[in-house]
């Protein structure tokens, strides 16, 4: 089954990005595919390569990048939300790209399931 994931919140402040990541990783382990994850509202803040969290805790931005690298997950950051919050191509971590809200709508149309994680 193809799962789409919508992440509405940024790293650390809310659990949403963590829960979404563990859901995505588990879905892939169970043989499903997660073709795309869409980051909206403060969720765009997951995409920064500039985060340097403490070494003894997870790196939220980077582990999405690793999921993308290992399993071909397309990490899409909403352009309008990104512009409001100062996220542009210069600061993106690997695996993320900035694109339009149409990418989210397509997920709803094309995939079997779309799950929202937010506040």
């Amino acid at each position: 089954m193809q799962f789409g994931i919508l992440v509405n919140e940024g790293p650390y402040t809310h659990q949403a990005s963590d829960t979404a990541y563990l859901f995505a990783r588990t879905a892939i382990e169970k043989g499903h595919t997660v073709p795309r994850v869409f980051f909206y509202h403060d969720g765009v803040n997951n995409s920064t390569r500039l985060a340097t969290p403490p070494q003894d805790d997870r790196n939220v931005s980077a582990r999405w990048s690793k999921l993308a690298a290992d399993h071909g997950v397309d990490l899409v950051v909403c352009v309008a939300a990104a512009q409001r919050r100062g996220i542009n191509d210069d600061v993106l971590a690997p695996g993320y790209r900035i694109s339009g809200l149409g990418q989210l709508v397509e997920m709803g149309i094309q995939y079997d399931r779309l799950v929202t994680f937010g506040d």
Binding site: A80, L104, L114, T116
Partner: protein, 131 residues
């Protein structure tokens, strides 16, 4: 509107999309950015419903004046939805009652649903996007 036809994903699939709005405007960004998703969805010829429950009903208030808080007033955008063929706006009766609101207080025409009607509407959707 013709340039928006380019955004059709080409598959011919029509799904029931429901946008769930439960939060008041301005205290958080979700009302504004949620509306932006709905406007984009209009270009995809899907079966779109917008549902306003709990504090979400406040998004549709008449008489909004944001000058004093110096933020964009996007309330008139709800009236523009009809021009985008987004006409199914549903409001929860109980949420309105709990907030002392009637349809006359709202900036657009809506369909007011009982809890059972709204529950059934939600249950029949293909895709629910929450903000």
């Amino acid at each position: 509107m013709s340039d928006m036809d380019d955004m059709d994903d080409g598959s011919g699939v029509i799904k029931k999309f429901m946008f769930l709005n439960r939060k008041a405007p301005h205290g958080t960004v979700y009302a504004l950015e949620g509306l932006e998703v709905v406007l984009i969805t209009a270009a995809f010829d899907q079966d779109v419903s917008m549902v306003f429950t709990d504090d979400g009903v406040f998004q549709l208030m008449k008489g909004i004046d944001t000058k004093g808080i110096e933020v964009k007033d996007f309330s008139k955008t709800y009236r523009a939805l009809e021009g985008y063929d987004i006409e199914k706006l549903y409001v929860d009766q109980a949420s309105m009652d709990a907030r002392g609101l009637t349809e006359d207080d709202l900036i657009v025409d809506v369909t007011v649903l009982s809890v059972d009607e709204m529950a059934n509407l939600m249950a029949e959707q293909d895709v629910v996007i929450s903000f």
